[in-house]
Symmetry: C2
Subunit: 385 residues, 2 copies
Amino acid sequence: MQNFTLHTPTKVLFGKGQIAELANQIPAGARVLITYGGGSVKSTGVMDQVYQALKNHQFEEFGGIEPNPTYETLMKAVELIRAGDFNFLLAVGGGSVLDGTKFIAAAVAYPEDPWQILETTGSNITEAIPMGSVLTLPATGSEANNGAVVSRRSTGDKRHFFSPHVQPLFAILDPVVTYTLPKRQVANGVVDAFVHTIEQYLTYPVNAKVQDRFAEGLLLTLIEEGPKALENPKDYDVRANIMWSATMALNGLIGAGVPQDWATHMLGHELTALHGLDHAQTLAVVLPSLLEAKKEQKRAKLLQYAERVWNLHEGTEEQRIDGAIAATRNFFETMGVPTRLSGYGLDGSTIPSLIKKLDEHGYRSLGEHGDITLADSQRIYEAAI
Amino acid sequence: MQNFTLHTPTKVLFGKGQIAELANQIPAGARVLITYGGGSVKSTGVMDQVYQALKNHQFEEFGGIEPNPTYETLMKAVELIRAGDFNFLLAVGGGSVLDGTKFIAAAVAYPEDPWQILETTGSNITEAIPMGSVLTLPATGSEANNGAVVSRRSTGDKRHFFSPHVQPLFAILDPVVTYTLPKRQVANGVVDAFVHTIEQYLTYPVNAKVQDRFAEGLLLTLIEEGPKALENPKDYDVRANIMWSATMALNGLIGAGVPQDWATHMLGHELTALHGLDHAQTLAVVLPSLLEAKKEQKRAKLLQYAERVWNLHEGTEEQRIDGAIAATRNFFETMGVPTRLSGYGLDGSTIPSLIKKLDEHGYRSLGEHGDITLADSQRIYEAAI
């Protein structure tokens, strides 16, 4: 096991009716700015529950944070906060609203051009406005970690940053609010949480038994519950198990003390930035291709994954590994998420542009061994056509 | 899944050499009181590492906190702190030092008789001195939760309390410091962590898949690594896996959203209070007997436990359940911890006294269903002779 520091201070309030707890979680005198996305939180009644909980608080709203939140949109909120002297942010939405709100929280107090926050991956942040969230889409884990991803429309960039200053104080997770999600978002969320887990698990063994078994527990749960959520959208326990899996997949716990990969995410980000694919769609395209390409380096963990997650005990090692990769691809397809670029109308002709962007962003040696070169990335994209 | 609130704010610093991090975790101007137990931390060199890390801090020491820490001893530290104006406590030791230090931290500021803290299970605590720890014995999980158990010599009581005010700010976990532990303490720690997990797992199903699989992951790890720690005391990964399992077994995570039992602990506490048995010894005695007695109420989870933890797939349900209980007993015995009262020279003649104490403490309806009456407890003790 590798050395680690693990700090998970976000308080989680989980279950039916927990939105009412907002009243006790946000300081009484706070000037709250509620951030949200395209407005579905209003049509589904989630925002009404928020209003009810905050009836004794002072608050205003900022809507319109888009999927893959953009610097351009977020800077409008930053101006609003500077003008209105808000001192608490409440994100109501999914990972994009969460991520965008983290950026807003840090940018308000940032003394120079806030795009630097992304260029320095957050290392220069010294303060941020406190924030909490009501999560509506289980997927990214952003509700209980200190990371965020932001895009810039003008340049086609998609970059991430981390800072303890943007760790949410609390996260309210009511599985009931996920009943009305479109199938595509449900499927994306399951794939996203699954690949987050894989990025921290499918590397090389360091004899970290607890972390491995926790990761396997999340993968098994997502495999079992994901298809059920598409079939029976109002099954509370199914929604609860998915929601809790997604938070646990990226709050730092399963990645503590083990190697991490994240190459699938880096290659995926460029696909979103250039072609606008949903984040989870890019992961479903890149991961099977990457596992195929890095079969030797990931051999021991692929065998463990085949056995413990996909129950593959028969055949040669090669057959079990191939079986596990095929089962992974099949799981994504079963969730309705295509795993080939062609499934999104792409023919691979833009791969040189994707590689150029990876190069510009400095992603020339990715993966847990840092051995995925630009040439490897090119092969991974090509094998995914 | 049941509703829950989960807050795990203790920062964990895990691995070789992490004691040096103390220098950065304790505020520079703090007046630190280091608390410890019988002095083994001095002979093993752990305290030297602490001194080295705190060479630029102001500190004094309070030693002599005993296993099953007593109110009588702890109140001496309270007087010392009041006289010396200390404002940070650093516990260096195992669960008893941690628990004792939590009591000290709360008692210093408690306006009335501090024994009330135990009588009200901590509900009246409004402040406590901040604390952190260097853990030397993985077992109780006290390093990363807000609970503690304290005994009173004068009355033979053993009581617990909880308060968010005594949640440690940080926990330093260096598996290397556990190399020199006596075998009995290693075995006790493994049994303790195992039973903590069981108390939050082996109840009745609520379809909490993540929590179940996390619990099973801890049980499997302890079963695999426990005996290895006795055989190869200096195997770093074995020690690391046990240490991390013990913390994860009782930081709130696996118990969030599921029913909990804790009857084994309540029956065990009376055995320690009356006969001075080690905490883990009492758990090893009570648990198999309790599982046997509550077979019907725990049926579904016992079958899951048999299958997923002990790999028992053959035979009737009854045979698998019996097999799982026998395997549990055998595991404790393999660790060198007897599972019968007779193994500790007790013949059961004091059972009426134990039942009287349970009655005095109000433990007349224990377990996840509250259906373990005093008569049931008596049968559980008797079957454990």
